[in-house]
């Protein structure tokens, strides 16, 4: 459910109690005292959904289906992190054909999620429209292109996953059914069109005006030896972290704050950022030459530290995901069998994959009887709360003399830079700027 944005002007500040175009429910409060920003807070009030507790006592085979329900936009991410963690506990490694098919369906999720955010949620900010609907009234062809892209991603998810929302064909060990070669090859014309649409998207967003704003982020993402990270890799940061997913809890700490129903997260005590900008900045060298060239032509360097330019990075990842899906489908051989056996072990398993919004960590403790006794899920939006608050503080501080309506609008935009999925995190938006 989305909320309309509304703004009330008090005698000493601004109060915007609902932020639109984000998934879920929440708000922002910026407190100004003696001309200084003293507090920038992201209030998340969507009720926590206690998925971790719900998983205790369930069978070890159930997390892919249960956790897919956390989010209608990125269910594949939940399913893939869950599978990886359970398989880790079972001591099972999936064969290459399963791994590749997982990467193809994950590309579908990146395409549909990024296309939705770029066209209907984020681009209106840059072009002065209240919503994607208003943008569509003036630019139906452009929005139509975005919807065509999204549909291509959805089709990939339907053909491999059985349906695009909460797919049903994914299981621990692989898939219930492997699509035939002809079923995937039939998607190639759609994906080739999507690749052209993604290239046009990149050229379109690269021409937007971006606020002059950068921060010294510590980026965190996965890194794989020879590919742009999606389904697996080591957890690395721009300040030298390089760990296996099993070492996550030794470095990342979650804790509760009063103003959010989603846990905050720090890396060895430090605020960090995950998501497309982090992925790109840590892995741009792993992009294929054509995508890397398109990124450079769009004005990106090897890294990107302006969160407003994350829309360009998402477009680069759209281009990459379309091309990667085409490449993988070109060499597709159905996994036979479609899934490998994964018997339960008395063990703890760890899984990390790259959801469209960033790193998604799952941990499960299971018994030899296959019962889950403990579960931990750390979604990307929860991890990014502190980075969003830091962005708001640093962005607003030198702009307090700007017209309040404009500042309010830009602060909302600063939150949408993250494509926040509050439903996932609450496990979140209003904006209030108040002066004391």
């Amino acid at each position: 459910m989305t909320h309309g944005s509304r703004m009330t002007r008090g005698s000493r500040g601004i109060n915007v109690p609902a932020l639109a175009r984000v998934e879920g429910e929440g708000g922002i409060e910026i407190v100004v005292s003696d001309g200084q920003v003293t507090q920038a807070r992201l209030d998340i009030y969507e009720p926590p959904r206690f998925f971790e507790a719900l998983l205790r006592g369930r069978r070890y085979t159930e997390p892919p289906d249960i956790t897919a329900r956390i989010c209608g936009i990125c269910p594949i991410a939940y399913q893939m992190s869950a599978c990886q963690a359970i398989e880790d506990a079972c001591g099972v490694a999936v064969p290459e054909p399963v791994r590749k098919l997982r990467r193809i369906i994950y590309c579908g999720e990146w395409i549909e999620s990024h296309a939705l955010h770029v066209y209907l949620l984020h681009a209106p900010d840059f072009l002065g429209y209240d919503s994607g609907i208003h943008l569509a009234r003036d630019h139906p062809d452009i929005v139509g292109r975005g919807l065509r892209l999204k549909k291509a991603g959805n089709r990939l998810m339907e053909v491999i996953g059985g349906r695009s929302v909460h797919p049903v064909n994914i299981k621990v060990g692989g898939f219930y059914r492997a699509p035939a070669v002809a079923e995937l090859r039939a998607l190639l014309p759609v994906l080739e069109q999507a690749r052209q649409d993604a290239a046009d998207t990149l050229a379109w967003v690269a021409a937007f005006d971006f606020p002059d704003f950068e921060r010294g982020y510590e980026f965190v993402s996965l890194r794989a030896p020879d590919e742009y990270p999606i389904t697996e890799g080591r957890v690395v940061s721009s300040r030298g972290l390089d760990i296996a997913p099993a070492e996550y809890d030794g470095h990342f700490t979650e804790f509760q704050v009063r103003h959010s129903t989603a846990l905050h997260s720090v890396l060895d005590g430090r605020t960090y950022l995950t998501g497309p900008m982090a992925r790109y900045s840590l892995n741009s060298a792993r992009l294929p030459a054509d995508v890397a060239a398109a990124a450079r032509a769009a004005g990106l360097g090897a890294t990107c530290a302006n969160p407003f330019r994350s829309i360009i990075v998402r477009a680069v990842e759209l281009l990459y995901a379309c091309g990667e899906a085409v490449r993988l489908i070109g060499g597709y051989q159905p996994p036979d069998p479609p899934a490998v056996e994964a018997g339960p072990e008395d063990a703890t398993g760890y899984g990390c994959t790259e959801a469209p919004r960033g790193l998604l960590y799952h941990r499960y403790r299971i018994t030899a009887d296959g019962v889950i006794t403990d579960a931990k899920i750390v979604p990307p939006t929860a991890q990014n709360q502190r980075a969003i608050e830091a962005d708001l503080r640093d962005f607003a501080a030198p702009r307090l003399d700007a017209p309040r309506e404009r500042l309010t609008r830009e602060c909302e935009q600063a939150v949408r830079n993250y494509d926040p999925c509050i439903s996932c995190a609450a496990h979140f938006l209003d904006l209030r700027v108040s002066q004391s």
Partner: protein, 152 residues
Amino acid sequence: MTLVIGIGNPDRGDDAAGLAVARRVREATAAARCEVTVVELAGDQLALLDAWDGEKEVYAVDAVWSGATPGTVFRFDAARPLGVRFAGRGTHTFSLADVVELARALGRLPARLTGYGIEGAAFGFGAGLSPPVAAAAEAVAARLLGELEAGG
């Protein structure tokens, strides 16, 4: 050919009201062998754009949450802008009204689109329809079948 689309989440209480109507219409029209296609849509409402692509006569039924008495039935003709009364009333990221206005902007509205909204009472996980919404779903199904019969 007429298309009837029921929208909702089957596992979220009264959000399933549109699905209940669709199923009732499917049962009735299957027996009568009417020229009616019934589609159930759970999740991404943007899929409506494709679901009604090329269709001339479409009915869409969804749950709404406006503060009205549970079971209240709203009916709209998409030939006219829906206005704020129907904005954001769905329980999904994009409401039925959002998608109707997006389709209008894109020139992708069916020639005739009629919407029914049923005011929900509770949207809890795993719950069934509440009594007033179940009754309203039956009433909407009967009314819709009457419109189909009159139209066909």
